[in-house]
Amino acid sequence: MFLIDSGGMVRPAFAESDEHGVIAVGVYENEPKVFTTKDGKPAGIFIDILEHIAEQEGWRLRYVPGSWAEGLARLARGEIDLMPDVAFTAERAKIFAFHKEPVLSSWSQVYAKKGSGIRSILDLDGKKVAILKGSVQEETFVRLSESFNLQTEILAARDYAGAFAMVTIGDADAAISNSFFGFVHAKKYRLEDTAVVFNPSKLLFATPAGGSEEMLRTIDRYLVTLKRDRGSIYYTSLKRWMSEDVRFKIPIWLKMVGGALLAFLVLNLVGSLILKYQVNLRTDELRRINQEMEQRIVERTAQLAEINKEQTSIFETASTGIVLMRHRTAVHCNRKFEEIFGYGPGEMDGKPTRLWYPDDEADAIGGDPVYAQMGRGEIHRRTQQLIRQDGTLFWARISCRAFDKDAPLQGAVAIIEDITEEREAEERLRQALEKAQAADQIKSAFLATMSHELRTPLNSIIGFTGIMLQGLTGPLNPEQQKQMTMVQSSSRHLLALINDVLDISKIEAGQLTLSPGPFDLRVSLQKSLKLVAPLAEKKGVGLAADLPDHPLPIIADQRRIEQVVINVLNNAIKFTEAGQVRLSCRDGGDTFVLSFADTGIGIREEDIERLFQPFHQVDTGLARKREGTGLGLSICKKILDMMGGSIDVESRWGEGSIFIVRLPRQTGDSA
């Protein structure tokens, strides 16, 4: 007989193996269901039943020992024909075939020391539970405790005995095993079963998928029959392996075994001692590993606590508000954050960030665009008006960033500063600047107006004085002539003052503009010399010129250049009591270099720096004998700066000065 599986492979069925006369049966250690005795003979409830059937049916059995996992693997590969004590699960049903009538029913059960008080799974909260590593129990219990939200510490045990031992020596509060192991061994470990039971399962024989259906049907038929008969091998086996009392109540069995049993018991005792010794060794090892792990946990916990302490102190001492957000809700914030908003400790935790904003519109500003930016991994920054608990508004500088740019809503941190004072200071500064600028404009306008208003009467004074001095109104006697000349001189000085003040105010207001045009510098210099000649003549100071004999074409503001030249010449004459003033002009390529050399009083080194500042005259004081506003040189310097030229001075106190003026051939209006 052949069975064809879905892959089309031909596989020998039970009948064929029977021809060879042997059924391969996996055996592993799971007392009392299936195990090997000390003398290497398979035993246990499943074995008793299987051997009973084999005897009746004429099957020949070959046992293949190994671990539980090895047995299952062999079964899956078809290397063995039958595996006892397999719990039925939907997953296993895909790779194995099972009969229907369960041999045994099993479940997982929690065992603890007597008087532990563990009555339900909830009592395991905060407890240490020892479980066989990689077992069904572990998987199920972890899932169970999670679903009940229990804080249970799982201690991994190498086998059920190890798990029980851990409870016995106090390393664990409870252990989990299958009900059969617990039933037989709990007492030995001074444990008792608790009412915590889960994961019930049916235990069956299994064959490889597509294995012999006839064999499975045969097993079912026997099981039904055996279970019906109280005196059958099924019940005697159960009693034999699961109750010592029962064992000693059967004198016939005792007799049969006789002295052999005694030897067996001795052997068993020795075996137990060895086992116990091995258990102790393993338990010690477990305890040591456990201690190491605990030590490590203690150390790591301390480290974490330290880091946590540092972070908390940074968090709490920060002078800015810090908040951790999730789904636009404040998860946690520091005290400063609450203070900025005027809330008490913890009052903002768990509240939506909408609370921070005065209205929905403001709230929207902190919404999508911000999260989009954080989603690009950037730090978002803005200033915005937020609202305090008492309803007052304040300006805040906000910056925030996502923990993970791919999920900014899942977690982000925001830092908030109350910048109300900063804003107010800025506003005051802005107002002060506006006021100052306005005052400056008023000053300039005032000076311009005053200058005009002063000039109008001055026009008459200068004009009529000139008319009289010209003799247009009739001849003057010498005294009248002298006095009218004084009036004329004074009024001209007054005019110069007014002009200077007007110029400096224009310069300082940035309103002085140049009007460049082409002209001959030599002509301008000659004109200027002619203008100052009367003053030099009057003071008895020589006026010399050293000019080239060809034209000096230049593009510049002629009026302003003449103003500068006349000013420097006048200055030189004023401060020279004897000797001469010499103007020379040199062609310096891109520039014309004018030098004004005098034999006057000179300038002290400490005064040179201040020479070109407004309202500065070298011999200041009540005894001032030179006329002038002290504005002239500063105006000259400003005008030359605007033209891209320069003015410098070389001087020695008492030995005279040389002023050097450089004029670019082509000047723009750099104002």
């Binding site: 109008t456 001055l458 247009l472």
Partner: protein, 129 residues
């Protein structure tokens, strides 16, 4: 011969000063102390040239110059601004407004008449009236 000059100037002393100097040189002076009167007088008596102050009450010198320029019959009449250059951009504005030239205030009595004559159209002495 047309020897009439119109002076638009609101300051009495300055008007007198310019009148005195120019009359001494043989010109006939018509004075106006505001822009409106000045424009009306110019249209009526066709002066040889117009001396125009810039700071004037109500209608300032710029507006007067612009208004005068709108009358083509005055095209040949030079407008000479007499100004103190008090405000920024005055010079440019005066020329832009239509003035032919300008004389700085305070005037220099020694050269004032010569400066005015320089602005008069060529052959002004020959013009019949």
């Amino acid at each position: 011969m047309n020897n009439r000059l119109l002076i638009i100037e609101d300051n009495e002393q300055n008007l007198y000063l310019m009148r005195f100097l120019l009359e001494k040189s043989g010109f006939a002076i018509i004075g106006a102390d505001n822009g409106k009167t000045g424009i009306a007088t110019a249209l009526q008596c066709r002066p040889l040239a117009i001396l125009l102050d810039i700071q004037l009450p109500e209608m300032d010198g710029y507006a007067v110059a612009a208004e005068l320029k709108r009358h083509s019959e005055l095209d040949a009449v030079p407008i000479i601004a007499v100004t103190s250059y008090a405000m920024v951009g005055d010079r440019e504005n005066i020329l832009a407004a239509g003035a032919t030239g300008y004389i700085e205030k305070p005037i220099n009595p020694d050269t004032f008449v010569a400066e005015i004559i320089a602005y008069l159209p060529e052959g002004w002495k020959d013009d019949g009236d």
